[in-house]
């Protein structure tokens, strides 16, 4: 395995472009090194991105949104003064990954590029309508986060392409997001079901919403029907029931060592309701 420490994205993508065998990027490493240690994936070229300027920065963008560097760790997001105020759901999602120790290393982009349908950091990004900047031989372009996953362990990125930043839109007024996941213990498990909700309100009526489910399909799913079930409502019981039904309908989970099809489907509805209530309360300024 060759270990590279490029000082620019250009060098990094150049290394990746000319590499022949298996290539991996190293940011936090909390997935890459686990796969290395257990002989699941031993890269021929490992490109450490942490020496590239700006990768550790969380910056406010002109339009009031946020730009997150590819090597920003979950702990740094949680400790950031304002990011969590704007987007508590996104910070919660990242904060739930692994232990305190993992939080000191794991990154949003690493979580996204690992391609797990159960990734905790990704649903809230999609719910927020976030995008990532993809740089490659053909130059740079922005892609919606939901466009990146291509199936368990796979992304649409091609040889020589890498993500160089996460772009989160401005929160705007009367908005709130939330992320919840179900795990059998209180910490340390992979999500059996994950659900992010992002919505805006006018008074007590929901004007826009995005609902995203994790761990219930080969990729993380943006569920339009679930959003439609609550847009225009005051999140009353009927709306919550419709939300749960839409969420359950969108599930195409598997039976595995973490959960059954029936369980994941049922709990997807439960989490959708609970996450929606938190996002709604936050949007109306009632809860932090």
């Amino acid at each position: 395995m060759r270990y590279h420490t490029p000082n620019s994205f250009e060098d990094a993508t150049a290394i990746a472009a000319r590499a022949t065998g298996t290539t991996r990027y190293l940011a936090g490493g909390t997935d890459v090194l686990v796969q290395l240690r257990s002989d699941v994936v031993t890269p021929d070229d490992l490109i450490d991105v942490k020496h590239i300027p700006g990768v550790k920065e969380i910056t406010r963008t002109g339009d009031g949104g946020w730009r997150i560097g590819v090597a920003v760790a979950g702990a740094e997001m949680s400790e950031h003064e304002n990011l969590g105020r704007d987007w508590p759901g996104i910070v919660e999602g990242m904060d739930l990954i692994g232990s305190t120790q993992v939080q000191g290393r794991a990154t949003l982009v690493g979580n996204l590029c690992n391609g797990s349908p159960a990734a905790d950091g990704v649903p809230a990004l999609i719910a927020a309508g976030a995008s990532v900047t993809v740089t490659g031989p053909g130059g740079a372009r922005d892609m919606a986060v939901e466009a990146i996953p291509a199936g368990p362990g796979k992304t649409v990125l091609t040889k020589g392409e890498m993500i160089t930043a996460v772009n989160i839109p401005a929160r705007g007024q009367n908005g709130g997001d939330a992320y919840l996941r179900f795990i059998p213990r209180t910490e340390m498990d992979i999500a059996v079901v994950g659900c992010a909700v992002n919505l805006t309100v006018e008074g007590d009526k929901i004007t826009s919403a995005r609902v995203v489910l994790g761990a219930v399909a080969p990729t993380i799913r943006l569920v339009e029907d679930a959003a439609r079930a609550i847009i225009g409502t005051t999140l009353d019981e009927a709306a919550l029931t419709a939300l749960a039904e839409a969420a359950e309908a969108a599930c195409a989970p598997i039976d595995d060592k973490r959960g059954t099809i029936e369980f994941r489907t049922e709990v997807a509805g439960v989490l959708a309701k609970r996450a929606a209530k938190i996002a709604y309360a936050r949007a109306r300024g009632e809860a932090k």
Binding site: M1, R2, Y3, L26, G28, G29, T30, L33, V34, L36, R37, S38, T42, L46, D48, K50, A73, A75, G98, S99, T100, Q101, V102, G104, R105, T186, E187, M188
Partner: protein, 159 residues
């Protein structure tokens, strides 16, 4: 495969070693630098027995490459006491019988120290969630939490 030459600082000492790119920081601390306080309990970041700090940040040293330590500041359990003066946490763990076999103790002490530096007066729940990544199979965690609480109080009173 040629080795990588790494210059780093461990517990305040300049340290140099050669490591294979695939070796983790944990492997290097134990086999190259000779500090065996950090333990490998799982190799997947699930048990916390290998906890160290990297530039002040609590991490699992089994999920960091030895090569990534270049130019970094690392602290391990071996750096927790100052000379023969134990850190309050170390004293309280003995006093409260907060360890039985002791293999998870180094990792938990490093993690608890990082917690108290960040939050000198954590609640029991905050302690338990902060330490959720440090598995202990002998104690059932009760006496560990009591020892951390006691040490936190002593440190608050002393500061």
């Amino acid at each position: 495969m040629s080795k990588i030459h790494v210059n780093t600082t461990v517990n305040g000492d300049e340290v140099e070693y050669l490591c294979d790119p695939r070796e983790t920081l944990l492997d290097c601390l134990r086999d190259r630098v000779g500090l065996t306080g950090a333990k490998e309990g799982c190799g997947t970041g699930d048990c916390g027995a290998c906890s160290v700090t990297l530039d002040g940040r609590l991490v699992c040293s089994c999920l960091v490459l030895g090569a990534e330590a270049e130019g970094k500041e690392i602290t391990t359990i071996e750096g927790m006491a100052t000379g023969d003066e134990l850190h309050p946490l170390q004293r309280k763990f003995i006093e409260h019988a907060a360890l039985q076999c002791g293999v998870c103790t180094p990792g938990i002490l490093v993690a608890a120290k990082a917690l108290l530096e960040k939050n000198p007066d954590p609640t029991e729940t905050e302690m338990r969630y902060w330490l959720a990544g440090n598995l202990c199979r002998c104690t059932g965690y009760d006496k560990i939490i009591r020892a951390v609480m006691d040490a936190a109080q002593e440190m608050r009173e002393a500061s």
